[in-house]
Amino acid sequence: MTNTSENRGKCEFALTVNGKAETVRVYPMERLLDVLRQELGLTGTKEGCGEGECGSCSVLMNGKLINSCLVPVLQATGTNLTTIEGLAEGPQLSALQAAFLECGGAQCGICTPGMILASCHLLDKKPKPTLDDIREGLSGNLCRCTGYMQIFDAVMEAARRSPA
């Protein structure tokens, strides 16, 4: 006889978020997005569509870009997560953040954290991307303000500044 009630109700889940070990007590089907925002207070991760189309809720899970609205927290247990709050070191912005600021890559700001994490993921795989690489790498992230060109410029600029 199997016990089907073992995961009914809230459970504890351990995650590493921006290098810090965290434990949350939530329902296993709670979306990672909601855990980050509501349990951990990391409101940099935004909800846009809530169905995996817009990329506003993008974060890195074990270094891979994912939409946090589509991940039940149970599947994030034991993973290393990076959110937008994890990129700057104190007041020192990351190269990508600085480039987004300088190139006008952010306007209303809702898509920006997801754009920057998608860009992180891209530059991690391709440190010197072509414009086509950037377009493809960010194709799952929608922006309704900038028209994208300043965002592409920002990623190019960050890649140009990085060594090698």
Binding site: T2, T4, E6, N7, R8, V26, Y27, P28, M29, E30, R31, G50, E51, G52, E53, G55, S58, K64, L65, I66, N67, C69, L70, V71, P72, L74, Q75, T77, A118, H121, L122, R135, E136, G137, S139, G140, N141
Partner: protein
């Protein structure tokens, strides 16, 4: 109306054996969830009828792409990113590489799985016509054992399939027998990126002395299931690609499909495009003979 997580159970037994045991103990009660790119969308919209979910994400037994002398076996839990980045798939099964590249953005490619795409059973899925063209076989597992079945015929109707409530797809097998073929894929959607297909084609063909020796043609979004155009294939074999044959191919294709009007397109447009896609493939096939 958004779902309340308090209304759902989600467990992660951690091994394939434990998962299939649970499926067998309570058949039909547990919905497997891999990368969640379809299930979580239904959940967010409050449209998920299942209340008990069983996670198969990261199950070791569903991972990896095994390259054997005569076939490759793709773990059902392989993501689109893994498919895209695999050298043997890119070289020998490029239709699958193209389909993986077309499916969603990077974040969804990092989570969506080939097994998930099959059981989600969307007639518009881009990877399924490629599996039909390559005559994929499915390795299906349960506590009762494993069975190996052709993918052709797996989908028996809209969102219906030959899979018992206690079964899981473990792997997808592709025979390594397509080296002499032209591999042709095209997707027609509202725009190039991030659009679900209005119609898509995956096709293979080989010529001998300008005559069609072998041909396989599959279309997405033109019927309740991804469709292999066997009647068109039979009609084409042994023929030379000429204007009359193109006309006949369009006509036979039109008779084989059952397109519908929906949010993405109309039956009329789909029928016209399906014919055009078949004709375009045949023209490429003809031209490949000229340069060989």
């Amino acid at each position: 109306m958004r779902s309340d997580p308090a209304d759902f159970e989600l467990i992660a037994p951690g091994t394939l054996q434990a998962v299939v045991s649970r499926l067998a103990d309570e058949p039909g009660q547990w919905l497997p969830i891999a990368g969640g790119t379809d299930v979580m969308v239904q959940y967010a919209a409050g449209k998920l009828s299942a209340r008990k979910l069983i996670s198969i994400w990261n199950l070791t037994e569903l991972q990896g792409i095994e390259v054997l002398p005569g076939e490759i076996r793709i773990g059902a839990g392989c993501t689109y990113t893994e498919l895209r980045e695999h050298d043997v798939i890119a070289r020998e099964f490029p239709l699958l590489t193209s389909a993986a590249r077309w499916t969603g953005g990077i974040a969804n490619q990092n989570r969506g799985t080939l097994g998930g795409n099959i059981v989600n059973a969307s007639p518009a899925a881009d990877s399924l016509p490629a599996l039909l063209a390559y005559e994929a076989e499915l390795l299906v597992v349960s506590v009762r054992g494993e069975r190996r079945i052709p993918y052709l015929g797996f989908h028996t109707g809209y969102k219906k399939m030959d899979l018992a409530p206690d079964e899981l797809i473990r792997a997808i097998s592709l025979g390594r027998t397509f080296s002499g073929y032209l591999h042709h894929a095209r997707k027609v959607g509202a725009r190039e990126a991030q659009a679900i297909s209005k119609v898509c084609i995956a096709a293979l063909g080989s010529l001998r002395d300008s005559v069609i020796e072998d041909v396989r043609i599959a279309l997405g979004s033109v019927a309740p299931v991804p469709l292999r155009l066997t009647a068109v294939e039979q009609m084409l074999k042994g023929k030379t690609v000429e204007p009359e044959l193109l006309r006949l191919a369009r006509k036979t294709a039109a008779a084989a499909i059952q397109p519908i009007d929906d949010i993405r397109s109309t039956a009329k447009y789909r029928a016209a495009v399906a014919g055009n896609l078949v004709a375009e493939f045949l023209e490429h096939l003809r031209d490949s003979g000229n340069t060989a």
